[in-house]
Subunit: 261 residues, 3 copies
């Protein structure tokens, strides 16, 4: 029984997600589909890439990931299947896979061109339904990878916004705000610990000062921000039982400076 | 293994959707349920009818559609099962099925009256749980249609708002705004092309002018609206990488005029 | 085939829900998971408890409920499995189960301590993934309850806000506002009917007066509020085809007085 992990920016208001699932199940009724999220910020490829990277390794081996954030739908951007050691990824070739493929090197990349597998007529605006869902359906039936198109050797890449590392300061950027208002930065655990090396530090946020790393969300006084390494391995600013983004008025793209004392 | 397509205005905040699924699975644990949407505007029967019509044909043959937008719950409106060539529809008889049944003529309509299949006591406010879910569960177990009640010959109908077609102008109405802010009108592809017949046209929207049909969302300059036939076959106004509804300040019910030059 | 009912405050924007499901399915690919809701107000344990109590009895016998609203994650609060006659509940021990366990007495309570079943390293901030999901996975494979930790004899309890019952007045509190804006109070059907005993009553809300109990949402004039016993058995204030919470400016925690005439 094949498992599909489905990530998109389609939202849940429209019928997009349901129709894509219908197309997959029409081809292979035994597939099980798990939604990763459909609330990626519209057309934010990098956010999708970050969420995928934070999710894929918890899925069973053999999972087929269908990942569609596709501002270039209907234009000349490629559609690809990437096989790695443990997984398949079906996606527009627009950088969405770049963060995950740094950790899971691609063993084979196929450009999807064989329209034998497509719903006809292929629309110019909803290829998740007409192309990607079909490919996922047939792939889950063990159709050989090479049947979908020709092998290619590269894929488009995007990078997380870089942090600024100086001798005494590390400037982080908020790359994601979760449902609870927690502020996820672009500093992974290793970068942070290599920078700190058990020295004292401070993070100034408005009128607040954070001077230690907490283990969990309860280790702070109410209404005082705390810093921790979150469950995905990144430095995160949080507020105990509160929404840090709203209270501290910080959002995606804002900068946070860590200073050694 | 039976497939159920589930459409409602229940939202995902409450337990309504989960409880309906629980009741179905208690009767038939092997059913697979695909959510079409639960974010239909509360009590907007026509919106549900449009979404259903745009969705059903992508589902496998034999799919049972459970469609509940039900402002008249507990009153004298009927509950019905409609069998068509390829599908079953279980719904309040309030017009929700009218658009789909124009395309898929009903072969048999049954008024649901046999309370042997209901959860008791039947509540007056949540019959999706106490009646519809139960009927879907037993229908998926191949219970004969006639066991649920008596055959009837008609069902309630609603129409999309009409467009105004004159010699040189076609006045469209926005009938749906999707998650991306795209503005779906009541003009289907055939109506539009019969009106245009390869002549030049213009659509004036505020200070913007659209004078051609695009194939996809990328075929426009940023911040300039474009018109296209969308993936469901209707004329749609859109903004490249932007939210047309917000930027153009247009919403459901607003009019858009297409003029021949 | 095991069924899991999943309730949390994780929302659907992030990948939390999808990752928890992935972990369960990695352990037992045949599990079926039904979402009850993931839109519980962040960290509102009592709201989760009320939703669970309103939902569990519609699920098949043997259902495993995974219920995570967990402001104390990573602190010393316990993680527990509770077995009742018909169900299993896997939850932080913070009061979330208190309302359901009043109706379904616990037959066995186990404190989850055996880290053989956990994802390593266990994070301090996402134990739904690293502990609860794993336990649900193995429990669905019929792992004996005692293997997860030691039997304990009590669990943490919370109460709904109390109502004020006097000779001629009953003061209710709004404990939940649903997607349609219906105002659910803490007065169950029995309490209400014992208080009224077929006498005349009034409920004053702003400039409106309710003087009878309706059976369903259609039994009122538009824009006039009505009172009914809702599908979960509680006194509810509603507005026909409208959002009572918005129009009447009433929200969770507000009081409503029922007076005998």
């Amino acid at each position: 029984m094949a498992l599909v992990g489905f990530l998109s920016d389609f939202g849940l208001k429209d019928n997009f997600v349901g129709v894509v699932k219908a197309v997959i199940l029409k081809i292979n009724p035994s597939v099980k589909i798990v939604d990763i999220s459909h609330e990626v910020r519209p057309q934010d490829i990098l956010e999708a890439s970050f969420i995928l990277k934070s999710s894929y390794r918890f899925f069973p081996k053999g999972t087929i990931f269908l990942t569609v954030v596709d501002p270039g739908v209907g234009s000349k951007r490629k559609a690809i299947i990437v096989k790695t050691k443990d997984f398949y990824f079906v996606s527009p070739d627009n950088g969405l896979l770049s963060l995950v493929l740094k950790e899971e090197p691609p063993l084979k990349i196929v450009e999807i061109t064989n329209d034998k597998y497509f719903l006809k007529p292929v629309s110019f605006t909803f290829q998740a339904r007409d192309i990607f869902a079909c490919v996922v359906g047939y792939l889950s039936l063990k159709e050989p990878l090479g049947n979908f198109g020709k092998v290619i050797s590269s894929f488009k890449t995007l990078e997380l916004p870089p942090f600024q590392l100086k001798k005494k300061t590390l400037e982080a950027e908020i790359i994601y705000v979760d449902r609870f208002g927690n502020l996820v930065t672009n500093i992974d655990e290793k970068t942070f610990k290599d920078f700190i090396r058990e020295k004292k530090f401070k993070i100034k946020i408005g009128r607040f000062l954070i001077d230690k790393l907490s283990l969990n969300y309860t280790q702070a006084e109410p209404f005082k921000p705390l810093a921790l390494i979150d469950s995905f391995g990144y430095l995160e600013i949080s507020l105990k039982e509160n929404n840090a983004s709203e209270v501290l008025k910080l959002k995606k793209g804002d900068k946070i400076k860590v200073e050694l004392l």
